[in-house]
Symmetry: C2
Amino acid sequence: MRSGKLVIAQGGGPTAVINQSLAGAVLEARLFPQIERIYGARHGVRGIVDEDFVDLSAESRANLEAIAATPSSALGSTRDKPDLAYCRNILASLKATGASWFLYIGGNDTADTVRIVSEEAAKEGFDLRSIHIPKTIDNDLMENDHTPGFPSAARFVAQAFMGADLDNRSLPGVYVAVVMGRHAGFLTAASAAARTIEGDGPHLIYLPERIFDEAKFLSEVKLVHERLGRCVIALSEGIHDADGTPLSVKLAKTVEKDAHGNIQLSGTRALADLLCEEIKSKLGIKRVRGDTFGYLQRSFAGCVSDVDRREAREVGEFAVKHAIWGACDGSVAIRRIGDYAVDYAIVKLAKVGGKTKVMADAFIAPSGSDVTPLFQEYLRPLLGSDLPQPARLRSGAIAKVLKR
Amino acid sequence: MRSGKLVIAQGGGPTAVINQSLAGAVLEARLFPQIERIYGARHGVRGIVDEDFVDLSAESRANLEAIAATPSSALGSTRDKPDLAYCRNILASLKATGASWFLYIGGNDTADTVRIVSEEAAKEGFDLRSIHIPKTIDNDLMENDHTPGFPSAARFVAQAFMGADLDNRSLPGVYVAVVMGRHAGFLTAASAAARTIEGDGPHLIYLPERIFDEAKFLSEVKLVHERLGRCVIALSEGIHDADGTPLSVKLAKTVEKDAHGNIQLSGTRALADLLCEEIKSKLGIKRVRGDTFGYLQRSFAGCVSDVDRREAREVGEFAVKHAIWGACDGSVAIRRIGDYAVDYAIVKLAKVGGKTKVMADAFIAPSGSDVTPLFQEYLRPLLGSDLPQPARLRSGAIAKVLKR
């Protein structure tokens, strides 16, 4: 029987529930006496190479539960993308510390790291069980119905657009908000969940899965604005023209030049500003406002889908069960069963690592500037319970006296 | 006894709880038979002048309660600042519709409108009772301990900084977020509520009540970054240099010129970008990120202080009671009693209208880049119950094997 230490780490961008997976794995690992100690690596694989470990076996259950409810990565994260040499250093450190299990929570880059570590360990004859635990607000992992972290970020985006749409009803004009997601439009598409009745925004949704055509964009904004006297727009930071270069990247370069090298604008913020300016100048609409949701959408404290919370916990638990009882390394995947339940499976690391899932054509409206009802059905159960329900006045207009 | 219709309207920027005040006033007004009908004016005073009224007496109690829980102004709002001629049109419309009471929910501009309407009605001998109901996320109304709408916006800012600080711990660097408030720094200062233990961010808070000195700013960021390896900064959109011009305004002009008139950047977004760029280039820090909270902080659906909710309801109720039983026009004011309860009073409209309260010196740290414990004591009860409580790992470091 394999015995020794279990090393766990967190990689990539934090989410609202990534610590649920950490707590799920740690609490489950404590049930198996062959796991002598549970070590957490600080700042992902960087901490493994640097032997920067903390002893998670020493954490109280109450504190682990409190950490589970805390957004962002409690162990710290890293943006390092290990190559083969880096992975060999990971293995050397794991060996030296007496690890027999390696669990890494993260997205497709993280899964790819686990793949290399797994393959190299096998080559060396190092008896290590390596498991990838899924996490990403981008929802872009292959083999998964959806990914822990996405439902909570999607809920944030939905609640943000609910409020922004009510704000825009109150003081009409055009509102553009830029949402995270360079290649996959799921998070931007989640804005559709803000709509309750006909006329609710967002009225237009632009995804990186479709080529962004500014002329088409402006004519669509014009139409909505003429019809409703206002227009709310959700825009992915990854929107790009026919050659595939994101507008934000092109824009960042332009603005850097214009500013004589003094001001280097972050692309996504400049994106909202540019499009607002285009709407003002080309459509002659006066009140145009733009926001870029930025880091709030992945780390806001206090906006969590309870479905996401539960599933993020379960993928951590499942990873440990498989690490003990399973016969292979792999990546934990979420499978949807009916409407709505999930089951978990282990899939080959190569099927997830380094690959990106984008939105299916069936999720995108033929217009290219909205989602389909099928996507809304897909999204709805993920957002969790007690989503705010905006209400509006029903009362009819009173006949005028002076101006009748 | 005065009898007739009651006209109510909402002005200025929406808040998370402004509909609580609407519901509070409408439900209370129904208890008085001398109020024949309750009319809501659509889009503030603009709706009064245009005779764009809806009959709020027809709304169900359940729907009014649902609307109360919905952010933004259910009646719609306006940015119109009426002059004397405009106010005479308001009076003509109120007279024609048979109004005997006029309630207007809003900030200091709204209070000033009510003042002019009240004075003109008196001059004309029109028996109208006019009351201003306070609302503003800026918390800048004179005579008030605090203002409905501020506590919920403050809670949003606190939760946003909690998450941003945890995110920044996970992936260290410098993070700058720009918060609303052109003249009063209360909302930016609310970021301090995100801190639990030593080392928590925001580490630096810049308010419009103090002159912003870029050299001082950079040296303070440098010091924090050297000490902690990271730095989280809260910055008011209203920060300005010695001549009083906000940096965002200066910046907007500069960028417009640099972009050859093609890109007119909104000042506050450009502000975050500029300061991020300054930190990168002058301090040589690599990972620097900036956000501008934008409209989310005043309209996000699902982030409300329960204290704010209750008080916003009560100012609406109180306004109607005073409108019926009181002997004068006025503005409802919130008074704090002990730690923590409130009472309501009616103050003269001229004491609130058109005036701006800023943060007391006792609330601002001598450094000029933080708040005092006194401000934290002032803020704490306003944020309401069940504020998220971030937790962190306690476990100590493991001795290194390879690199010892």
